[in-house]
């Protein structure tokens, strides 16, 4: 089949030319233009004519689709100016010659012109039919493609009718031809392409189709005129085929003209919609390109003014720090006056359309040079950002339709603006996170990384902040004479504020634990814990806000004398294992938190406690994040559990004790978020190795 088609495609053109030459030759022979070789029967001429028509149509059929994209005007122009014009000129010349000279022409010349015209007419019909095919099948469903195939087939059969010389009754022939014509009429209803033309193109198309119809008419006139000419030597060509193709070609053109004509009144609307759509597209792209809110808002103003043909406009933005809006052909005082008027009517929150400002009281007094006003608030789901005012000089300047267009623009804009704001918020958020990370690492550096080591004690520590930065702190300081100061504390609240005060506390610790060179007594060279707390309280009063406070405990351990002194400023009680008594208990001393009393007299509320320790004693100091950790039932870990843990683990190394406590705590609060900073220090006193003292 493929092979056959290819042969047909290649043979069509030579066959067409050959059959036409043969036809010409035979006709000339009949008229005596060339010597007669034999008497030619009518059917020979008819076969030549039929082969010629069939070959031309086939040739045209297998040419590439003449329609390029949606260039319908180009398609019709090529058809009318190409074969149409050529054929028409030829026929017209002949007609003119016939009309001007009354003398009967030379029969040979007449015959040549006839053959030429017949050929051109068929070529012209073939071109027209296949141009129509391109239009009929333009974006048509598969069904129509199939129907066209049948139409072609039936036309091909009619070509054979006359050839076979079948004597069909006139009635039947009429019905068959009428049926095929009806089929052609049906196919002519496929005029989908007309919708793709704009107003100007529609006019061009109508004139081109008129031109085409004129060409057809001239041909028909010619053939009708010469039908009974005595000079005509050839039998009449295949009537049914030519009749049908002429009918189809003419009818399709006619339908096209009618459809285009009826489309003309709506062309304006169509184009406007199209313009709006293009605008919308352009705006969407522009808005997405907008880098700042200002750019996005300006695009909105441009698009609104352009699309709605406004003569003046005001875009008012209320909530942008760097952009307050824009005026177009309008003075600020005029704009504010309009706004004030709408406000006084309580109309500033809804879409407002007034097409006759001149006759509405309030606006009349403003004496604006505009007669139509369209106002639309710029509203997103969350809030109103501003409003857009559009003015036109003419009355009835805006239509209800305009509102919906504008609404689309506005919602598009609001979406973009909010996206921009979200992006900016995200960037800002990222920056905060970075800064918090920085704060976290700064705070981390404030917590001692290396724990003091000596042979008379061992220390193990654990610190975990509930957030990036926390309010817990601890610190160590070696004092002369084999003494060690240990500070632990907790700033009320969490987060950055707490972290600031924690850093302050560290500074106070290091500042106050300096040697006093004027001290006479060895004991007075460093402040006692209670003295330290009193001084710290005084220092903190100036920088703590009234609802904040700090709890702290300061221990000064003196190895030489085997004892320690501490003061507890509102901080958690110290848990202690007494190795001599083999007993675990809390030191329940009194002491007020720092920053609570802001007047003098704090010293009354803080006491020192002295204790002589023994090797093997264990001291556990911690913050309330440990004892207030909760389980799923909201129960707190509590002092009792902590005490019980030390009872079980006191004989272990400091590190192991700490780990055991943490394991127990984590098992207790498993699955619960850490809601407060947790700090835990375990100090175990040991027997010093003789001679290895620091």
């Amino acid at each position: 089949m493929q092979q056959f088609l290819r042969i047909i495609k290649q043979a069509a053109l030579p066959l067409a030319i050959g059959s036409w030459l043969l036809l010409l030759f035979m006709m000339l022979m009949r008229t005596g233009g060339i010597p007669k070789i034999a008497t030619l029967p009518n059917w020979a001429l008819l076969v030549a004519q039929g082969v010629f028509a069939g070959a031309v149509f086939l040739y045209r059929r297998y040419q590439p689709d003449p329609l390029r994209g949606t260039d319908f005007v180009g398609l019709l122009r090529r058809l009318v100016l190409g074969p149409g014009l050529l054929a028409t000129i030829c026929v017209a010349l002949h007609l003119v010659q016939r009309l001007t000279s009354a003398q009967p022409s030379n029969p040979a010349f007449f015959t040549i012109v006839y053959a030429l015209n017949l050929g051109l007419f068929i070529v012209f019909l073939a071109y027209t039919c296949y141009t129509w095919r391109a239009l009929v099948l333009f974006r048509a469903p598969y069904l129509v493609h199939k129907q066209w195939g049948w139409f072609e087939l039936i036309l091909g059969i009619t070509l054979l009718l006359r050839l076979l010389n079948i004597n069909v009754p006139t009635m039947l022939a009429g019905i068959v031809v009428g049926g095929v014509a009806a089929f052609g009429v049906y196919l002519s209803t496929h005029q989908r392409w007309v919708a793709y033309l704009n107003r100007r193109q529609k006019f061009v198309v109508i004139s081109l189709q008129l031109g085409l119809l004129a060409s057809l008419g001239i041909f028909c006139l010619y053939f009708l005129r010469i039908q009974f000419d005595p000079l005509l030597v050839a039998p009449a060509p295949q009537h049914a085929f030519l009749l049908l193709t002429v009918f189809f070609a003419a009818f399709y053109a006619l339908m096209g003209i009618l459809v285009t004509l009826f489309n003309l009144p709506t062309a304006g609307v169509f184009e406007q919609k199209r313009e709006e759509m293009l605008n919308m597209q352009r705006m969407t792209q522009d808005i997405q390109r907008g880098q700042t809110e200002e750019q996005v808002y300006q695009t909105l103003l441009d698009a609104a003014v352009q699309t709605l043909g406004a003569d003046a406009a005001w875009l008012r933005i209320d909530d942008s720090p760097d952009y307050s809006g824009q005026l177009y052909n309008l003075e600020m005082h005029q704009a504010e006056a309009v706004r004030g008027l709408l406000d006084s009517y309580s109309l500033s929150e809804i879409d407002y359309l007034n097409n006759d400002l001149g006759s509405s009281g309030g606006f009349q007094q403003l004496a604006l040079p505009y007669n139509s006003l369209l106002m639309m608030p710029l509203r997103s789901q969350k809030q109103q950002h501003g409003a857009l005012f559009l003015f036109r000089e003419q009355r009835q300047g805006f239509e209800r339709d305009n509102l919906s267009i504008l609404q689309t623009f506005v919602s598009q804009t609001m979406l973009s603006v909010e996206n921009l704001q979200l992006t900016q918020a995200a960037i800002q958020n990222e920056r905060y996170k970075e800064e918090l990370k920085l704060a976290s690492s700064v705070q981390d550096s404030l917590i001692p990384k290396t724990l003091p080591t000596d042979n008379w004690f061992e220390i193990s520590s654990h610190a975990q902040a509930a957030r990036e930065v926390g309010g817990d702190f601890y610190d160590f300081l070696h004092l002369p004479g084999r003494r060690l100061a240990i500070l632990i504390g907790d700033v009320s609240g969490k987060g950055v504020t707490a972290a600031f005060h924690m850093a302050q506390m560290k500074g106070i610790f290091h500042a106050l634990m300096q040697e006093n060179p004027l001290a006479k007594d060895d004991k007075d060279r460093f402040p006692l814990p209670s003295k330290f707390m009193a001084m710290a309280n005084r220092a903190l009063v100036h920088c703590l806000e009234s609802s904040s406070f700090i709890t702290a405990s300061l221990y000064i351990v003196d190895y030489e004398n085997g004892g320690f002194v501490f003061a507890r400023a509102g901080h958690c009680h110290t848990l202690y294992y007494h190795s001599l008594k083999e007993e675990v208990s809390y030191f329940r001393s009194t002491g007020l938190g720092l920053g609570i009393i802001r007047t003098d007299g704090y010293e009354k509320h803080i006491k020192n406690q002295f204790y002589d320790y023994n090797p093997g004693d264990v001291m556990v100091i911690y913050t309330d994040g440990i004892v207030e950790a909760r389980d799923g039932n909201k129960e707190e870990y509590g002092e009792d559990r902590l005490l019980a843990m030390l009872e079980k683990t006191y004989y272990l190394e400091a590190d192991q004790i700490k780990q055991a406590i943490l394991d127990d705590l984590n098992a207790f609060s498993y699955g619960q978020p850490i809601h407060d900073d947790q700090t835990l220090l375990v100090i175990k006193f040991k027997t010093a190795q003789p001679g290895s003292s620091a």
């Binding site: 009320s492 009234s546 406070f549 007020l592 938190g593 009393i597 802001r598 509320h605 309330d624 707190e636």
Partner: protein, 109 residues
């Protein structure tokens, strides 16, 4: 956290119900910041149903302590649960604030 006010001629009683944490302490702060509170001779805080107090909650009382003292208003806590009392005690607030076992004792002060 639910805060119920029961005013009488000279006394304002606040009943705290629930947990006084960072968010609910804002409510309490609003109540105590009301200038009319300083017109009473006594402000009694009923802590019977106060299950938990965070440092933020303590901070609210601490920040108003001086103000109440200056205005001559007595701040008295009563019916305090053991664990909440423990928190006051650890911080040393029991030496600054008046905490009594029952409402009758509070009223008698």
């Amino acid at each position: 956290m639910k805060i119920t006010q029961t005013p009488s001629d000279t006394t304002l009683t606040l009943v705290l119900d629930g947990e006084l944490d960072a968010s609910s302490s804002v409510l309490l702060d609003t109540e105590l910041s009301n200038p009319t509170v300083l017109q009473y001779q006594k402000v009694l805080i009923d802590c019977q149903r106060l299950n938990y107090i965070s440092s933020a909650g303590l901070g609210v009382f601490i920040s108003h302590l001086q103000r109440f003292q200056d205005a001559g208003v007595k701040l008295v806590f009563f019916n305090m649960q053991e664990k909440v009392h423990n928190v006051f005690e650890i911080l040393g607030l029991d030496s600054l604030m008046t905490i009594v076992p029952s409402q009758t004792e509070a009223a008698a002060l």
